[in-house]
């Protein structure tokens, strides 16, 4: 397939960018400052790319002007939020402009009557809920990197997070978008409407498009009443089969849908507890489930958590800790949230996975992963959203392996993992996206016709192929 020829970003173009957004908001020619924008949170150096310029616009009009210029000059543009992604989606693999949305960080309108909030893409996701608390309203997206990630990035990746079991993923809450297209047009898609079949559904097409179809400049999110009470159960199991096997039963037998059902295997728990100096007795534990229940009725919640706790015990949990106040809850969730970081510190040579299978096939997927890990002699901490069938496995390189060995074995390991996932009706990414990291593996789970169709849709938006090129698929 022939490559697109992009032009070099000349000093004249840099000057034009400065004219659009102001001198202070363009980084150009300063290698050290540009380097910060060359990667996301993927450990290691494989998925990196240096931008030629970083631009920090403050309005849709400025972004429109930048896109028109870039489209005319054939310069690639890569949108970027907080850079907390895990698939290389915000990495400028073809150079060009990184368009950083950190200045567009205003909460524009809390519309209590319609139960919606209107925000700019650079708002930190967690701040939305802080602003909503006094209205007793709630945005149900709950990505694990909540303290850092931007809502724009969440929408671009269709982030899932810890509460998707009960509340669904980001796409369910995005009702309207203002988008600047690759050719610089500003379009309004959807609106403050809870149902809308006017034309094709472009809002849902945009959600999860990884910044390849347009740049979001305004986002309308649906809100729900704040669930005021939460109880967390930490359930300890002797082994993975019992823990994961209990998950589908939890919901189908009890009829109760927990807000979260998070799974952590032994290696993951051990890693996080050592990293955090956490003293919970995990020594005999083969795997844990962290189950959260929430609601607005405290009595009903008490009934529910007793029922769920009992069910866990019936399905093999030998110990169930109950956290019914925020500080103990936070202690449990901290373990879960820090697993990723713990293993980043342990080794830079690893691959963070985001495979998703139908929920009932989760036990088969985890068993398959552990078999593959054993055969290759690597360790695989597994953790994640068991209730959704979405598990983050870290394939961690043994310290004694050479880089060459790791680099040659990893593709084979991934090949086998993804083949299993495909056979179970799954996909290679549940919430982190394909980006540049998983692009080469797309054909393991989807047909070439599907990929051609994605390309055709992209072309409909971006005739010159300048918007975040090199992500999801190649031209």
């Amino acid at each position: 397939m022939d490559k697109v020829k992009y032009r070099t970003l000349t000093p004249e173009i840099a000057a034009e960018l400065k004219r659009i957004v102001g001198d202070a908001y363009v980084i150009y020619g300063d290698k050290e400052r540009l380097e910060v924008f060359s990667h996301d949170e993927i450990p290691g150096t494989e998925y990196r790319g240096m931008p030629e310029a970083v631009v920090r616009p403050d309005s849709a009009a400025q972004i429109s002007a930048i896109m028109k210029l870039a489209n005319l000059e054939k310069i690639p543009v890569t949108p970027r939020g907080a850079g907390s992604g895990l698939s290389g989606g915000a990495v400028p693999v073809s150079g060009g402009i990184v368009l950083c949305l950190d200045r567009m960080n205003r909460i524009l309108d809390i519309d209590v009557e319609n139960m919606m909030v209107e925000v700019e893409p650079g708002v930190v996701t967690n701040e939305i809920n802080e602003a909503l608390r006094k209205h007793k309203l709630f945005y149900a997206g709950y990505p694990m990197s909540l303290e850092t990630c931007f809502i724009g990035g969440n929408v671009a990746e269709n982030a899932g997070g810890g509460k998707a079991v009960k509340y669904g993923v980001t796409s369910r809450y995005v009702l309207g978008l203002e988008v600047v297209t690759p050719t610089g047009e500003i379009v309004e898609l959807g609106g403050k409407l809870v149902k809308d079949v006017t034309g094709y559904n472009m809002v849902q097409l945009m959600v999860g498009s990884e910044g390849t179809l347009g740049i979001f400049t305004r986002i309308v999110l649906k809100l729900i009443p704040l669930p005021e009470f939460q109880v967390d159960l930490l359930c300890m199991f002797r082994n993975t089969e019992e823990a994961v096997g209990a998950v589908p039963r939890l919901m189908t037998v009890s009829g109760i849908i927990p807000a979260s059902i998070e799974y952590m295997n032994r290696i993951a728990v051990k890693g996080a507890c050592e990293y955090l100096n956490e003293s919970i007795p995990y020594e005999d534990c083969g795997a844990m489930l962290l189950v959260s229940l929430d609601g607005t009725d405290q009595e009903r919640l008490a009934d529910e958590y007793e029922a769920v706790g009992l069910l866990c015990r019936e399905h093999g949990a030998y110990e169930v800790y109950v956290a019914d106040n925020p500080s103990i809850s936070e202690r449990l969730w901290r373990i879960r949230r820090n697993i990723g970081e713990a293993f980043n510190v342990f080794s830079k040579r690893q691959s963070g996975e985001d495979m998703v299978v139908p929920p009932a096939s989760l036990p088969a997927m985890v068993a398959g992963l552990e078999r593959i890990a054993e055969r290759y002699g690597i360790s695989v901490p597994c953790f994640g959203h068991a209730g959704d069938g979405n598990v983050h496995a870290r394939l961690v390189c043994p310290p004694e392996w050479s880089d060459d060995k790791w680099n040659s074995e990893l593709p084979m390991i991934l090949d086998e993992c993804y083949r299993d996932v495909a056979a179970l009706g799954g996909r290679i990414s549940g919430e982190h996206g394909i980006g540049c990291k998983r692009k080469k593996y797309m054909d393991k789970v989807v047909s070439p016709e599907y990929i051609s169709m994605l390309r055709a849709v992209k072309k409909a938006f971006d005739p010159n192929w300048i918007m975040n090129p090199g992500k999801i698929f190649d031209l």
Binding site: N158, K195, P225, T296, D297, A360, D388, G430, H432, A456
Partner: protein, 464 residues
């Protein structure tokens, strides 16, 4: 557009795929296939084929693509915007024989089925097994394929959302005959654009759905309805945002006027529980225990009474519940029977503007001297407004209808609303889509259409 005219060789091909019994031409095609439920537009297809499998659909699409023949897919023809009318003639694919349940997966809570299964068959099938498919459009004899193609909404959208929220996966045949699987039993997916969501609501213009995987829920064990009379419509509708804000989430919030109720009584030959007030809200609550539901509806009943409701009738028996909802289900037919011809507007506006918009449409009755009736989903901002022809002559009717629609759609747009909440654009609403999306927006839709269907042979003349 230059399409190939159907010739005898084309009929021979279709017969070679489906046999003589399932290929209809000329007078053998029932007149019903020339229009949908609202009339207005009509055109006979040149040939109508009853397909029974994905392979047949794929073979026919490949042939049509190679020979540049337009194809219009059709379910039960219960649509309201002419989306399933063969505006360019050619081949009509009747999907109704592909009506099999394929798999109930009780571990993943999914149901896999063919597109021709009827909505009422789905609810019977799943409810017998204590499961629940929440979308509940008024027309129960519609096919699920049609519902997915219009992203049908229905009464329970306030609490449970619309059809899209329950479509996990699709098998589709592309305009060139390629068969593709989109989505699946996975509950989340960030692996490429969501083409599945693009197909949902695309009104048969992007691909033909041959299989669907639906998400199910456990069946709520108890349901009750409240019928709440108000002295006037505005007062009833102004109460809705207060109910929503109270955080008790009803399954449905419908509003209705006395005129519509009287029409329904006459049409069904059955009495509605009450017809003495000018306006009503109809609310439903569901849940797993009596206590849980009582708690929710008591709060709401008080809100209504404080806002001026005259009474609150609770229907907690299956019979009364059914009586109220069967009347609600007959509104469209009843209004239709009360006049000679009608057209409808299915706008959606932000929920807080529903009252204002309904008031506005009532004023149009006097301004244009024409009968206008409305009912709809107050809880989600989606209104069904009917303009009635009664005894007007053809020319006056066309002119008045045009003028009224112009004013209505542009006012909806001013309030941040859109042309269609759940019935779609099809053929009939295209002029208003242009107004609401602008030139660039329409071009974008057309580019997407061409990405799926480069020869524009699949259901041409619809949406954009």
């Amino acid at each position: 557009m230059n399409y190939k005219q159907i010739a005898s060789a084309d009929i021979d091909f279709l017969v070679s795929v489906c046999g003589t019994d399932r290929v209809y031409t000329g007078k053998a095609i029932n007149e019903d296939f020339s229009h949908d439920e609202l009339g207005g537009v009509s055109r006979m297809p040149d040939v109508m084929v009853e397909v029974t499998s994905t392979e047949e659909v794929s073979a026919i699409m490949k042939y049509a693509y190679d020979n540049n023949i337009p194809v219009t897919p059709r379910g039960q023809g219960t649509g309201l915007v002419g989306a399933s009318v063969a505006m360019h003639g050619g081949i009509m694919l009747n999907m109704c024989r592909m009506n099999h349940f394929l798999e109930l997966d009780e571990d993943n809570l999914t149901l896999t089925l063919e597109p021709g299964v009827l909505l009422m068959e789905i609810s019977k099938f799943v409810e017998e097994r204590d499961l629940f498919y929440p979308p509940d459009p008024g027309e129960k004899s519609a096919t699920i394929g049609g519902n997915i193609n219009t992203n049908a909404g229905g009464m329970r959208a306030v609490k449970y959302g619309v059809t899209r929220d329950y479509v996990r996966g699709l098998e589709v045949v592309m305009p060139d005959g390629t068969v593709m699987e989109l989505g699946g039993k996975v509950v989340k997916n960030s692996s490429g654009y969501s083409l599945k969501d693009m197909i949902v609501g695309s009104e048969g213009t992007l691909a033909i759905i041959t299989k669907a995987i639906l998400k199910l829920l456990p069946l709520p064990q108890k349901t009750i309805s409240l019928l709440i009379p108000f002295p006037e419509l505005e007062m009833a509708i102004e109460t809705v945002p207060k109910i929503i804000k109270s955080k008790a989430i009803p399954t449905a919030i419908e509003f209705m006027e006395r005129d519509v109720i009287l029409a329904a009584e006459e049409f069904l030959g059955k009495k509605f529980p009450d017809n003495t007030s000018d306006a009503y809200l109809l609310l439903t609550f569901d849940g797993n225990s009596k206590e849980e539901i009582e708690k929710a509806y008591e709060k709401v009943a008080h809100i209504c009474l404080d806002s001026g409701a005259l009474d609150v009738f609770i229907s907690n028996t299956q019979e009364r519940h059914a009586a109220i909802w069967s009347a609600r289900g007959a509104f469209l037919e009843a209004i239709k029977a009360s006049t000679t011809e009608m057209d409808e507007c299915d706008v959606v506006v932000p929920r807080k503007h529903v009252g204002e918009f309904v008031k506005f449409t009532r004023q149009l009755q006097d301004r244009f001297n024409i009968r206008i009736m409305s009912f709809g989903h107050a809880g989600d901002g989606n209104l069904h407004i009917y303009v009635l022809r009664d005894q007007l002559d053809e020319q006056t009717w066309k002119q008045k209808l045009h003028d009224v629609f112009e004013v209505m759609y542009s006012h909806a747009l001013e309030l941040g609303g859109k042309v269609s909440g759940e019935h779609g654009i099809g053929f009939a609403k295209k002029p208003y889509l242009n107004d609401s999306m602008g030139e660039y927006g329409i071009n974008l839709l057309r580019n997407i259409k061409l990405a799926f269907d480069p020869k524009n042979i699949l259901n041409p003349g619809k949406v954009c």
